[in-house]
């Protein structure tokens, strides 16, 4: 059975030559090849588009506190399911260069029992840059109230009259009156980081197991490969669910985040290990490995310092292509209510509110987070595709 992998031409990574020596043993060649990689990558237009979107999303994730006009749990129970706020530039009282919104209140229509909005058109609340708002810990360093943009406060309520709220809901509000746009900003932190954390865990296990397996062929290889096979032949989604149910539903969000990441890495590493093993098999008999052995370096050092760096080109592509799996896995679990728990927002658990389909038409803006999941996934895919082309030896040589 050991022969299966090596005799299967479609899946045999052993025939894939290590493309660029990115982790070259001396520093100079490493920088040169990084530059070469960037030069080759720049040629793929879609790849560059993917990279730009990913960069924007990471920017949003890092500066979410400032970019979001409200905190993720800032709720206004009187403005449930508010539609996206319209920005006005002019009204009966003339026009203004600065956009403004009207104070709003919501009420339940006594005939249809639908939530309706009513605006106080006599008062303008202007949109302003750099306003004071909810307190947040900027970059985890210092406390500040500063937000990139926000709106003026509403006029004080007249005694006996209705209370009006001036809330800027760029993408509407959700079922407890929280700003969907702000929550998307905060949610990007989870989706954009989970792939990196998960991939690094999976990568360490996968590359090490693959490296050891390919280097020490024989009994060790046999055992490790059998373990990989068992892992790969377990039904993935069912296993994910079973592992999720190992822990109670009411864990803290941070614990759930790490737990989900670890179980996804735990399910995902064997694929990587197999491919790395194949590549190591093709490298281990090259002259420089014999030389390293002759010099008397120990085996672990040879694997980590001399063999694994040579699989680096493949690993970059595989990491980039693997990240969407983590994003989709987390949001899939969260949509089912098994992932990140409220009130911490993730793009997945925000979509959970969309599962009430008969009501969805009343507030379709809760679907916005799905678009962001799609955007993140497609940009990583495009980026991975561009990287693969850039690292393809057939293409770089011509």
């Amino acid at each position: 059975m050991t022969q299966t992998a090596t005799q299967n031409p479609q899946q045999d990574p052993a025939q894939v030559q290590p493309a660029l020596d990115l982790g070259g043993s001396d520093g100079q060649s490493a920088t040169a090849s990084w530059r070469g990689l960037w030069k080759a990558f720049r040629k793929s237009r879609m790849g560059v588009i993917g990279l730009s979107i990913v960069s924007v999303l990471y920017f949003v994730a890092i500066f979410a506190d400032c970019l979001a006009p409200y905190g993720f749990d800032n709720e206004t129970r009187d403005l449930l399911w508010a539609p996206p706020t319209r920005l006005h530039f002019s009204d009966a009282n003339g026009s203004s260069w600065r956009p403004f919104i009207y104070p709003t209140r919501s009420y339940i229509d006594s005939d249809t029992f639908q939530i309706k909005q009513e605006q106080d058109v006599t008062h303008r609340c202007y949109l302003r840059l750099f306003v004071q708002g909810d307190e947040h810990l900027f970059l985890g360093l210092f406390k500040t109230h500063l937000h990139l943009f926000g709106v003026d406060p509403p006029p004080p309520a007249t005694p006996g009259g209705d209370t009006y709220y001036a809330r800027l809901y760029l993408m509407g509000s959700d079922l407890s009156g929280r700003d969907v746009f702000s929550r998307i900003c905060y949610g990007s932190r989870i989706s954009m980081s989970i792939g990196l954390v998960g991939e690094s865990i999976g990568l360490i296990i996968g590359a090490l197991v693959g490296g050891i397996s390919g280097y020490y062929i024989g009994a060790v290889d046999n055992i490790l490969q059998r373990i990989c096979e068992i892992m790969m032949l377990l039904p993935g989604f069912y296993l994910l669910l079973m592992l999720r149910f190992l822990f109670p539903a009411d864990m803290s969000s941070v614990a759930i985040y790490f737990y989900i990441t670890v179980i996804m890495a735990f399910i995902g590493w064997p694929g990587l290990a197999r491919v790395v093993r194949g590549m190591v098999l093709s490298i281990r008999n090259l002259d420089y490995i014999h030389a390293a052995r002759a010099v008397g370096q120990n085996n672990f050092r040879i694997i980590v310092r001399h063999i694994l760096p040579n699989t680096f080109g493949y690993l970059i592509v595989s990491v980039t292509m693997g990240i969407p799996g983590y994003i989709l896995g987390e949001s899939g679990l969260s949509v089912l209510g098994l992932g990140i728990a409220e009130p911490i927002p993730s793009w997945g658990n925000m979509l959970h509110q969309a599962m009430d389909i008969t009501e969805l038409d009343q507030h379709p803006w809760v679907l916005w987070p799905g678009l962001f999941i799609f955007l993140a996934v497609i940009s990583f895919n495009l980026m991975g595709d561009g990287l693969r082309d850039a690292l393809d030896p057939k293409r770089t040589k011509t």
């Binding site: 059975m1 022969q3 299966t4 005799q7 299967n8 031409p9 479609q10 879609m46 096979e229 068992i230 032949l233 377990l234 039904p235 993935g236 989604f237 069912y238 669910l241 079973m242 592992l243 149910f245 190992l246 822990f247 109670p248 969407p324 989709l328 949001s331 899939g332 949509v335 089912l336 979509l351 969309a354 599962m355 389909i357 008969t358 009501e359 969805l360 038409d361 379709p364 679907l367 799905g370 678009l371 999941i373 799609f374 996934v377 497609i378 895919n381 495009l382 595709d385």
Partner: protein, 332 residues
Amino acid sequence: MRSYIIRRCIFAVVLVFISTIIAFTFLKLSPGKPGAADINPRVSQAYLDQQQRFYGLNRSPVTQYFSWLGVMRFIGKDTRGGLLQGDLGLSFKYQQPVAQVLKPRLLATLSLNIITMLFTWSVAVPLGIWAAVKQYKLPDKLLSLCSFTGMSLPGFFSALFLLWIFASHYHWLPAGGLVSLDHDTLGFFPRMLDYARHMILPIVVMTFGALASLQRYSRGNMLEVLREQYVTTARAKGLSESRVIYKHALRNAINPLVTMLGFEFAGLFGGAALLENVINYPGMGQLMLEALRAKDQCLVMTTFLLGSIMLNIGNLLAEILLAAVDPRVSYV
């Protein structure tokens, strides 16, 4: 080859066996009592104890596992049979034999996945060939954009999006599920139509998602074949382009695709699990989540077992098919 297949089958049986042990261990380690979510607080403790005894849950986990497997019956220590005797056990969530609970779910999932597969193959393969023939021209670029979109669009999101438009806004399609409320009162044809109306949306969503990889794979195959020398020869001797492509190249391009069938087979089962839960489709994926929520032991074990078996058969099938179409591959 034959001895390889036999060895591989034995290995598959061992693997499935190990996977059931893993599943059972995880299930027993998870917190909560079986069925606790559904227990009425007014039910007396005596009744609960009796239930526990009836389902054999008062025994040690190891005994429970072997009893599920049928070994206990085999050695005469249990009156109820297990897997070895063809008895899948009782589901205490549904208060029915597991086989009875599974049957409609299995049918629902398999029909959804098989129809999707038929659609995917009949659309993706021609599209892939077409894209290869028109490489780097407009159709190829458009198709590659489409397949990137299909690959990246999360099924649960596109399902919710389509449900918003077609079910919630325009009411053209039902909002999830498999049957309407008045399903049982309908005649045969309206009943089939009812099924079809419920299945359109998941099929569209899944086909669009699955299209991408198969389309790109068949495009790659065709491109590889078009680079072969015999295609150049065929062109050089003056054959018309359509004859070169459809007579000479096409067959060799389609051949390797059959290996994908094996993997498709493996996905027949769990492929739609998440989507089923999102659109409330009564299939295996939804059943698994329900069973896990209730810690319904026999139901979880059987579902997991079926998933594991399908995956193993699928992979074996893929290996055999690969050897069948590619003479360079031989197993020893």
